[in-house]
Symmetry: C2
DNA sequence: GTTTGTGCAAATATTTTGCACTTGA
DNA sequence: TCAAGTGCAAAATATTTGCACAAAC
C-alpha cells in the first residue's frame, strides 16, 4: 500500500541531499529545477505520507509554514534551527521526554506530545548580516 | 500611539474572560455573539498589537493556526494545552532557559529563542471522547 | 484637526481536495 | 488487472492589506 513512484523517490532523494528543514514549496522548486516534473500537490501528499511513516520530521516556523527534514535518528529528538537559512543541528534535551510525560500526567492530561525546538541565527547568517 | 478604542477594549475583555488559548477566528465569533460589532481584520490587528506589546502569548497549533492568550506571568514561560478544548496550564521547565541559551551558543548560534509547549487531551475531553 | 483605528472587500499564501487519467506491482 | 498515485485546477483556510471613512486625543 505504498508504491515506489518516480515522484516519491525524487522527493526522498532531494530530502537526502540536505540537512536543513525545507518547506513544501522550496522542495517543489528544487525538484522542478532538477528537471523532475512533479506537481505541488504531489509534493504535499508525499511529504505527508513520509511524515506519517515517521520518515521525516515536520515542524512549523514562527509564521506557520510547515517545514520538513529527513532525520538521522528515528527516535524522537529536537532541533536547533537557523531562522535565516534553515541549517539544522539535532540536539537532545536531557530528560525532556520524562519531564513532559510527568508534567502532563500530573495535570490529568493524556496523549502528551511535546514540542521543543530552538531557533536562532547561525554563525554564517550572523556574519552575512553584519557585513552584507 | 496606542488608542483605546471600543474594539480594543472588547478584545482584551474577552481575553480576560478565558484561561485558554483561542484563535483569532474564535475570538471574533465570541465578540460577535456578545453583540460587539467588530471586523475580523480588526481582531487580527489588535491581537498582533497586543502580542507585540507582550500582553498576550501567541503560539501555533500543530496545524499552523495561531492561538492567543493573556498570560498571568509576564516572564517567559511554557504551557500544557488541551488539543480538544484549548484549556491551558502554565508550567515551568526547570532550567529550560539556561539550557537553550547554552546549547545555542555551543553551536555558534545567536539570538536564541526556544519553543517548549506540551499538547495533550485534558481529563474532561478524554472522558467526553470515551462516552460521547 | 490630525493621526490612528476600523470595516469591508480584495489580495496573499499555504495546504487540501475532486476528478479524470496514469502507472506500479 | 486495478488499486494506488498523480496532475491540474478549484476549493478551503488563515491571514494581510488597500482604501475610504470614523473616531480618539
Amino acid at each position: 500500500m505504498q508504491r515506489m513512484t518516480r515522484q516519491r523517490s525524487a522527493v526522498t532523494e532531494v530530502l537526502a541531499d540536505t540537512d536543513d528543514f525545507r518547506s513544501a514549496q522550496q522542495l517543489h522548486e528544487t525538484l522542478r529545477s532538477r528537471g523532475h516534473g512533479i506537481g505541488l500537490a504531489t509534493v504535499y501528499r508525499t511529504l505527508q505520507s513520509l511524515a506519517d511513516g515517521g520518515e521525516v520530521d515536520v515542524l512549523r516556523t514562527t509564521d506557520g509554514e510547515a517545514v520538513y527534514r529527513r532525520c538521522a535518528r528515528r527516535e524522537h529528538h529536537h532541533h536547533l534551527i537557523c531562522r535565516g537559512c534553515g541549517a539544522t543541528v539535532e540536539i537532545e534535551g536531557p530528560g525532556v521526554e520524562a519531564w513532559a510525560a510527568q508534567v502532563g500526567a500530573a495535570h490529568g492530561f493524556e496523549d502528551i506530545e511535546h514540542v521543543v525546538e530552538l531557533w536562532g541565527t547561525c554563525a554564517r547568517c550572523a556574519a552575512r548580516a553584519a557585513h552584507p
